[in-house]
Amino acid sequence: MISRTKAAYAYIVARTKVMKSRLLKAEDFRKLLNMSFDEIIRFLEETEYRKEIDEVGYKYSGPRLLDYALASNLARTYRKILQVSFGEAKDLIREYLKRWDIWNIINIIRGKNAGVQPEIIEETLVPAGEFGEEYLKSLIVKEVEEIVKEMEGTAYYEALSKIGSAPMNVVEDEMYKAYYRRIVEMPAREFETKLFVNFIKMEIDIRNIKTILRLKIEGSSTEEILERIIPGGYELTEDEARKLAAMSFEEITKSLEGYWFWREVESITEELSEVEVNFDKAWISAIAKRASNYPLSVLPVLQYMVLKKVEVDNLRILGWGKYYGLPNEEIEKQMVIL
């Protein structure tokens, strides 16, 4: 039985390791930074994104083509990982991917509220979670109230029922809180599940510290920050997050010494992009270490999934930046290049 579990992890980890070797390297991004938008698309046609670009190349052009190709490639990659995994690994990956349900539902509702055409909403979807592509498409044609009703019985209903009485960002936060709560409260009997739960807790730490610093820079009040804190962090517990939220930016940076993520970040200025990028880098290097410490677990798979998301985000920033003629230094500052 033990070897069966290990064999299941060995299979999926080996597959994702090969997939990871095909991700774009830092040199590729440096090369891409010196290319024009059209050259970037041509470059991507020689990579993993070829299928998606070919699929919609006749229909779209410009950053819309890139956006669609990136979103559908990400969804295809994630679905593939879920399909080829089995046993406990599959259950954990499925749990992890449920975050895309929130992304999709929020995008649909935001699009509906803003009166966006259904085809454009459809392009933003990443059907990698529990809700399939067809189901999501069926939601797009429904009214917001009907969508909320449809979600009755799911973990997100409580948050979604606040639509109308609370702003959308609050509803979104509540949905993410419900998602994280379910994982953090998972009965972690197996060692692999424990590793997964800790991974998610560390992610909560990063999300919380980024939220605190971002809102501090924006000048939000302590109450506003507290509302957005996700409970269940790894080292940064809810109480500690509350304490930090009441401090000034300088005090926060001093108080962060000793936290696992601060060892990677070390110092930070009051610039939003720096906060985002530096903490993302800290997160990526922390999971790289944990994944190499536990090679036969779900961690290397999650590491790949995070890196894939980072790659897609980088390409999106690069594409849009190039399309609108932003200077290279500005684009590079926004990207997470490792």
């Binding site: 070897s3 064999a7 299941a8 060995a10 299979y11 980890v13 597959r15 390791k17």
Partner: protein, 82 residues
């Protein structure tokens, strides 16, 4: 009891045969346990990239050497006492 039924020579021969069987059998089980993980990883890598076929096969059969040791021991037993 044994003395009464079979000779010493036959007893030793029998024990050697059981030993030879155990040497190959247990080595086979060990190699199989070792290969399960390596084989799964090799199949995973090959499924993503056919270029790993040679390397995957090579790594998968490495634990087989244990079976060869078992086989050698069994041959020694069989030739010495069989």
């Amino acid at each position: 009891m044994v003395d009464a039924l079979i000779s010493d020579e036959a007893f030793i021969k029998g024990c050697a045969a059981v030993g030879a069987g155990l040497a190959v059998g247990l080595a086979g089980i060990g190699a199989g346990a070792g290969e399960s993980g390596i084989g799964a990883a090799a199949v995973g890598a090959i499924a993503e990239d056919r270029g790993f076929l040679g390397l995957g096969l090579l790594f998968t059969v490495i634990p087989e050497t244990i079976v060869i040791f078992g086989l050698v021991i069994s041959f020694i037993l069989m030739f010495a006492y069989g």
